[in-house]
Amino acid sequence: MKINVKLFAVARERAGTSAIDVELSSPATVRQLRGALVEQYPALRDVVPYVRFAVNSEYAADATPIAPQAEVAIIPPVSGG
C-alpha cells in the first residue's frame, strides 16, 4: 500500500517537499514506516531515528498500526512556544 506522509521543518527541507508517498507492505506499523523511509528517501536517513510519528494527529509508538487511509506525519523534535 502507498502511505502519504506529511513533512515539516527539517524533514520538509531535507526532502524538498511537504508530503511524500511511501510504499509499505500491508499490514504495516510505524516501525516499518521508519525502515521504508530510510530505504526510499535517503535524504531523510539522518533525521528518521530522531523523529516521532503522528497517526491521525496523535503521537504513535513504533508498534502502532497504520491503516491505508491514515493521516501520517513525521514530527521532528518540536520547538514552539
Binding site: A9, D46, A54, S57, P76, V78, S79, G80, G81
Partner: protein, 140 residues
C-alpha cells in the same frame, strides 16, 4: 480558547478574553523573540506548524489545565510565520480565584507546549544562515 495566527499577538485583547469578577488573579506569559542565543545573534524567526494536530494538542492542554486547576479563563495564542526581534510568538493567559493556581497553570502550559505541540522555530541568524531548531536532533 486556543488560536493559531499569523498576525501580531495583541496581549490586551487576550487578557480581556479571560476577565471575570470571579478572578482574583490573571497571569500572562509572553514568549518573545530573543536577540542572542548562546552568543549567536538572531535576526528574525519563522514558525511553522502541523495545523490540525497543533490545534488538537493545544485544546487538549487547555482541557487538562482546567482539570488540574480551578481556572476561570484560559487562552493560548501561538503566532506562526515570520517574527522580528521582540515580537511575541506565544501568549498564555489564565485567570483563577487565587494566584497560586494561575501561576502554576501558566507554567505547566508553557512547559508542556514546548514538549508536545507540533510547532517548529527556524532561527534566521544575523550571519545569514538559517537553522530549524530541533532539540536532540543536533546532526542537521
Amino acid at each position: 480558547m486556543i488560536s493559531l495566527t499569523t498576525s501580531p499577538i495583541d496581549a490586551s485583547s487576550v487578557l480581556a478574553g479571560v476577565a471575570s469578577y470571579d478572578a482574583g488573579a490573571v497571569v500572562l506569559f509572553l514568549g518573545t523573540t530573543r536577540e542572542f542565543t548562546k552568543g549567536r545573534r538572531t535576526a528574525s524567526l519563522d514558525y511553522e506548524c502541523y495545523p490540525e494536530m497543533a490545534e488538537k494538542k493545544l485544546a487538549e492542554l487547555e482541557a487538562e489545565a482546567r482539570r488540574r486547576w480551578p481556572l476561570i479563563g484560559c487562552s493560548i495564542v501561538h503566532r506562526l510565520g515570520h517574527l522580528e526581534l521582540g515580537e511575541a510568538s506565544i501568549a498564555i493567559v489564565v485567570s483563577s480565584p487565587h494566584r497560586q493556581d494561575a501561576f502554576a497553570a501558566g507554567q505547566w502550559l508553557i512547559d508542556t507546549i514546548k514538549e508536545v505541540v507540533p510547532i517548529w522555530k527556524c532561527e534566521n541568524w544575523a550571519d545569514g544562515t538559517r537553522e530549524w531548531v530541533h532539540p536532540g536532533l543536533d546532526n542537521q
